[in-house]
């Protein structure tokens, strides 16, 4: 081992929304050689810790000072700017980025917009939820609604909802019953204790019938959702039910009204029993972006400062604005590879500044690109788990790479000085 070789414990992984904070990272000869406990997705997210370190202005190498000056010029010269919070940045970077959008009277959106259907449903109805630890401690019945977390949230079951022992689940997995609800092709986990199949076109009716039954309202007999009605009778008899659903878009689009129907069911089950709906969110600290935008503006995503104060345009997020030609300059903060396709496509047509890991290699050809590290690997700060639990970031390469948070801060200060 060389002097610089090291092991960092209790590292938080942002590879998915699980934000597992039990990773031990090993660095040898300047490379990240091991991420113990991490799943395959996490191992890929950590990589070998090496990231490019380039600054490009109009395709040519430049200094940070010139890059920031050029970025400020482009953004202050724009009529309709957009700040986009991509993945792998800390809440500290996000907080300054919202300040930039406020100053520019621009729009701001983030990866949190990917789960818009669920956020909007919760704004209409509220939510019956829990942090993941409470599901671990108390749930005796876990219902996976059209999702197998194994694919996109690999350690969700082993760390949180199913396997670990809890205060009221003394033997872990065997203290709980797991039910998979298969909605067409969207199937629950293969190793569930029971399965219920619902045709996609009957899903909303099934959720409505389940809720009606819980509320003691009449429910007709219908073969399409007979099994769902049986399931809800079991749910009402459990001590603490967790319903798990994916808030991120999947290969088969979910019914846009599913999110609200699930919330309504979970709320209604808090009569006969206790119930928490656990919505699975993706990684990169998108939940942090949602939290930061909410506390600074009052709205969780798709915010417009054009009137000199925040307004909410949930149906005019970054993708829609870019597609509609409503943006003439954009500032993207975070790893370009985490951008939704529609946003990345739209950015190709506007003057874009990119600060983030591998910004210089972004497919949308930024006018100004400043490579930075990845939050949690190269810089510290705070990130939020999918259940809004804040966690510290413990970078294995702290201070060795240009920090995204410091770069955003520097641009913000430059903009403030310039006005």
């Amino acid at each position: 081992m060389s002097a610089a070789d090291r092991t960092v414990e209790h590292v938080t992984c942002l590879g998915c929304g699980c934000a597992c904070d039990d990773i031990t990272v090993v660095v040898q000869r300047g490379r990240l050689t091991d991420a113990k406990q991490a799943c395959a997705l996490g191992v890929a997210w950590f990589g070998d810790g090496r990231v490019p370190d380039e600054i490009r202005i109009n395709g040519r190498e430049g200094t940070l000072e010139r890059a920031l000056a050029e970025a400020a010029k482009i953004l202050t010269g724009a009529k309709h700017s957009l700040v986009y919070l991509a993945g792998d940045i800390s809440c500290e970077a996000q907080r300054d980025a919202v300040g930039i959008a406020d100053r520019l009277k621009g729009a701001i959106d983030s990866l949190a917009g990917s789960g818009a259907a669920g956020v909007l449903a919760a704004q209409r109805r509220g939510r019956a939820g829990a942090t993941l630890g409470e599901i671990r401690q108390h749930s005796d019945l876990v219902v996976f609604w059209g999702v197998d977390p194994g694919a996109r949230y690999p350690r969700y079951s082993s760390r949180y909802a199913v396997d670990p022992l809890g205060l009221a689940a003394p033997v872990g997995r065997r203290s709980r019953r797991v039910i998979a609800v298969d909605v067409g092709e969207a199937r629950g986990p293969a190793d569930a204790d029971g399965r219920v199949a619902i045709p996609p076109d009957a899903e909303l009716d099934a959720l409505g019938a389940m809720r009606a039954l819980v509320q003691g309202r009449p429910v007709g007999k219908d073969a399409r959702f007979g099994a769902a009605v049986g399931l809800v009778q079991d749910m009402a008899k459990a001590r603490y039910v967790a319903v798990v659903a994916d808030a991120e878009p999947g290969p088969t689009p979910a019914d846009p009204d599913r999110a609200e129907a699930l919330i309504a069911l979970a709320q209604a089950l808090n009569g006969p029993t206790r119930c928490a709906l656990s919505t699975l969110r993706g990684g990169g600290n998108r939940s942090g972006a949602d939290a930061v935008l909410t506390w600074q503006t009052g709205f969780p995503f798709a915010v417009d400062f054009g009137r000199g104060y925040p307004t909410y345009r949930p149906h005019a997020g970054a993708a829609e604005r870019l597609a509609g030609g409503e943006v003439d300059a954009a500032l993207v903060i975070g790893t370009p590879g985490t951008l939704p396709d529609a946003v990345a496509r739209g950015l190709a047509n506007v003057s874009t500044i990119a600060f983030g890991s591998r910004a210089s290699a972004a497919g949308f050809k930024p006018v100004v690109a400043v490579d930075t590290g990845v939050a949690g690997i190269h810089e510290g700060g705070t990130a939020f788990r999918m259940d809004d639990v804040p966690l510290p970031l413990r970078p294995a390469f702290d201070g060795e790479t240009r920090s995204a948070a410091a770069t955003v801060r520097a641009l913000r200060e430059l903009l403030e000085r310039g006005a």
Binding site: A276, G298, P310
Partner: protein, 540 residues
Amino acid sequence: MTTPVRLRIAGGTVYDPANGVDGVVGDVCVEGDRIVAELPAGAPRLDVRGMVVMPGGVDIHAHVAGSSVNHARRLLPEEHGADPAPAPQLVDGPSARSGTGGTVPSTFATGYRYAGLGYTTVMEAAVAPLAARHAHAELDDTPIIDSGFYVLLGNDDYLLRQIAAGETARARDYAGWLLGVTRAYAIKIVNPGGVAVWKGGGRNLSGLDDAVGSSAVTPRKILETLAGAANALTLPHPVHIHCNNLGQAGNSATTLESMRALAGQRAHFTHLQFHSYGGERGKGWQSAAKDVIEYVNDHAEVSVDVGQVMFGSATTVTADSPVEHLLYTSTGRKWVNVDIELETGCGIVPYSYREKAAVAALQWAVGLELFLLAKDPWRVVLSTDHPNGGTFLSYPELIRLLMDRAYRDDRLKGVNQKLLRDSALLEGLTREYTLGEIAIVTRAGPARLLGLRQKGHLGPGADADVTVYAPQADRAKMFAAPRYVIKGGTTVVEEGQLRRAPAGARLAVRPDYDVAVKKDVKRFFDDYATVAFENYGAEP
């Protein structure tokens, strides 16, 4: 630099009750961020002749930052859309930020609006330890005001285990560790044991001796353990208690029993109005304010804030999640519940208090009775449990109700009187608060109860937090728009306009405790928690 290094606030009528000054014309001298006894004759002067000078306001109990408050913000886009808060025109210092208001404003708007009311210190009253890091980040984005928070402890899985095992010393050390690691200011108990029962699949508790899992764990034991811990750790503020049975008819019996359980020990009972109802659950409501305030009056170790209900829009947001479930089922409005790992829950229901609604009118009256029957204003201080009973922007209206009997009686005529038959208010309470008493219940009293020796007064060495009001017969108007607010020596409000917004300081304690407890807590985390012991709390 326009920030004054020295400033003589000259010729105002000064109300500084902590120093025995009750409406005396004089000067208040500021040097740097402190009050000083005297300044050279040539020091810059702010002529405030004819105006009222008080220390900056101190809010002992409000919900302004953290995960529950942010859930409430996220739930209320319609309120935020309706109440835009453009960035103020600041003359120097940090860049001004825009935001939104409503009952749960964005962070920057919260700081600006509090300062605009003359408040310079605010305590966030309920933070889940799991989300302490979040609360600090929000407070960092809340300008001007000095702030701190109370960390929730009273339904904590580890704590309840220690109580069950009779490990009082370990429970105390755990509290000491938790306060330090979360950078909190005080211990908060919400519905002791009741939230744990709700989270475990039950409903709630109703009595002080109900079992929480183990028969050795009861609300009474939790209160005794944590009040003892706060006093043994010599915290500046005693344990801050939200009793069982909030909002229930007949709950005054529980409130009084809780007070008696801690007789002889310092304890602060919060939003007392919500815990001072007579009658019987399911049968009827009446005021029990007289009984409750009589106990408070007779027991110098007890302090309270009132938690006044104000007519209009509110948002109920509390760690008392079983209560919010009841409110949801009775109102049918949108509802958030979040069960939180290790300690506490979160419940939110938007609400409005209407003059014509019998229960709301009773709540309004009970709060005023508590204020008007209180013998010692130093121990009965002002709050609306923002945003639960009303927002902090309603404080000026509340001050008017306390100071202006004719106005109060007039308002009383307009409310539903169905449940007011036992209310002292209806019997006729003639008391009118003086400006000196208002200075006690809004700054000197809360500062003293918090153990903030440098706050709430204008003696030499105090923080230079000063508010200057132009007197008006309409006290609501007077208190809604101070002419000048000086925070830590910086003039933040000038001629009624917000002009500067420096960052506020964080108020936190770091008590001594036996660090041996950490080993045991870590073992518990390793067995049960989804967050690493090392990542819990909010240490930088």
